[in-house]
Symmetry: C2
Subunit: 341 residues, 2 copies
């Protein structure tokens, strides 16, 4: 259900050479191992079975994009003196993301994630739910280490926003009557809210000014929106081999994303998405719909929307002092969105 | 899976007349409506479907035992001046309890709870998980209203303890090889930890001394242990009509509780629990095992263990100033445990 930091794994033919993320993390790269150690410490529990299950979930972790955003957002401000707060916060953002994936995979009955078996594929639903709950709790415990009430509230509300977004997606399945605002609401819940909390909390803990905190929050929000739109586009333009899953899986699962919305806006004489959902989604109708999406320019239009969010992300950074961290944040927009095709 | 404040609904023949709980809540009764309002406010969300599902979960709420414990624990100290912190904390304890029940019922595939349909009986597993997650997040958000980092950490760790306890119970199903310590660990997770956090947080927010905070934590822990043991006993001595579910449901579900443990300790020549689990739990073997438990005195011995925890709960209150609240806390032990048979 969530985009899994996929761009670097997907090699779209039109893709240009991309700078490795690790280079973009330069200004905070020295502190990422502390995040890794904090995350690995989560499995140090006296209950061996729980330790094994957490270890499995954390063993093939992502690229630490969210923790890097937290640290980069704090880097231009009182960073070193607040590193003991920034590290647990950054770790909590990754753990929150991981916990939502554990529950998502159970909700979706997904068998694999990041190339390895999901928890729900080898333990019961009950155990999966409880391990996810445990990870939510542990992430809140890490946030409490910051001793900052403001980020604790922000963190709790982010989880509420995530759940709200996921519930919207769940109940909007196979409903073609959706507005672009509803789509934006859903992808804010599933992705942008976590990005904006990552950057807002980093700036807050590093004692940035209210204006700068708002700037980094807006940067995170707009980057997250662009990131998710690109992911939703890749679902249509990637091949099964590139995506590691069948192409157009969103449409197969009844999830209406931006390309499908733009197709409906564009075609006034008929509604191919309505037809697809009402057809019982046979393979031919699905292939026809995907072909329509690929050929009518809605991919390009969707990408233009993502680029618009990217521009806003970069513009938001205006109140942030120039320096290596700001350059890295701008570079991330470039790497994650602008040069993803 | 959780005891649902059942004693007042169960009328065991040996039960004496019991004081209504509402009378015991006297010293804080005037403030419970504020807790109710806070809880009802949880369903005020812009998403009508989520509002409906939360409304359903909260519509038939329990007796507010956990919120009452929070308020009573704060009552002897700086209560009025901290009421704006105590009310959200008390509400959060009830919401945490409610959220765990939502996930538990899904884990157990339970169809009813508190005499009404469970969430999982009429929406998908996915929606049930997400509504539970939302309620966890909202409870953490309420705790953040206290602006007290110590209770925020305590709250997060309590959810970790609950999950740990539930996972222990899940993985110990149909395993007769369990120690009394393992049983205590599990019931601390499922019940006593929430009781002790209720009382510890109340005392903390009302600015009790460290010694008094520890006293109220210990009171809550011991009361919770006794409360759960009584519940585990009622599962054997109540009839189906009294319990609202088949008698000995724990044994049916493979959950080994104190009476079964004591039976195994007592019978050295054979192991009836092992035999039952290995028999595939046919009705006759189950009935025979329940009869053994009822006739060999292990019910009485189990009750003696509960009473020992009750005594510790009352003894723990020593550093708490005498007054109406302390009298109520002692009365609760009496009502929930001592006079439950």
């Amino acid at each position: 259900m969530h985009r899994d930091d996929r761009p670097s794994a997907v090699h779209h033919p039109a893709m240009t050479e991309r700078q490795p993320w690790s280079e973009l993390f330069g200004p905070i790269a020295a502190d990422l191992p502390a995040v890794d150690r904090t995350l690995q410490g989560v499995k140090d529990v006296p209950f061996p079975l729980l330790a094994d299950l957490i270890g499995h979930v954390l063993s093939k972790s992502g690229k630490k994009l969210r923790p890097a955003l937290t640290l980069l957002a704090g880097r231009p401000f009182a960073y070193q003196s607040n590193l003991h707060r920034l590290i647990p916060m950054a770790s909590a953002m990754e753990l929150l993301h991981t916990a939502t994936l554990v529950h998502d995979d159970m909700v979706d009955d997904a068998a694999t994630r990041r190339g390895q078996s999901t928890l729900n594929s080898f333990v019961s639903r009950g155990a999966t739910v409880l391990v996810g709950d445990y990870l939510f709790a542990k992430s809140a415990d890490l946030v409490a280490e910051t001793e900052n009430v403001r980020v604790m509230t922000l963190f709790a509300r982010t989880l509420m926003t995530i759940c709200d977004g996921e519930l919207h997606q769940l109940f909007a399945s196979f409903n073609w009557k959706q507005s672009r605002d509803e789509y934006y609401h859903r992808i804010n819940g599933k992705t942008a809210s976590v990005f904006s909390t990552s950057t807002e909390s980093g700036a807050t803990l590093a004692e940035a000014s209210p204006e700068q905190i708002a700037a980094l929050r807006d940067y995170g929000y707009n980057l997250g929106m662009a990131f998710q739109i690109v992911d939703d586009i890749l679902d249509y333009v990637g091949s099964e081999a590139e995506l590691g899953k069948p192409a157009a899986s969103d449409l197969r699962n009844g999830t209406v994303t931006l390309p499908a919305l733009l197709l409906m806006e564009r075609m006034t004489d008929r509604n191919p998405i309505k037809e697809l959902f009402e057809s019982g989604r046979n393979d031919q109708t699905l292939a026809d719909t995907v072909a329509l999406i690929r050929e009518t320019g809605v991919i390009e239009d969707s990408f233009a929307v993502a680029q618009e969010f990217s521009r806003k992300a970069i513009a938001a950074l205006d109140p942030v002092p120039d320096g290596e961290a700001k350059t890295a944040l701008i570079g991330l927009v470039d790497a994650l969105v602008v040069r993803s095709f």
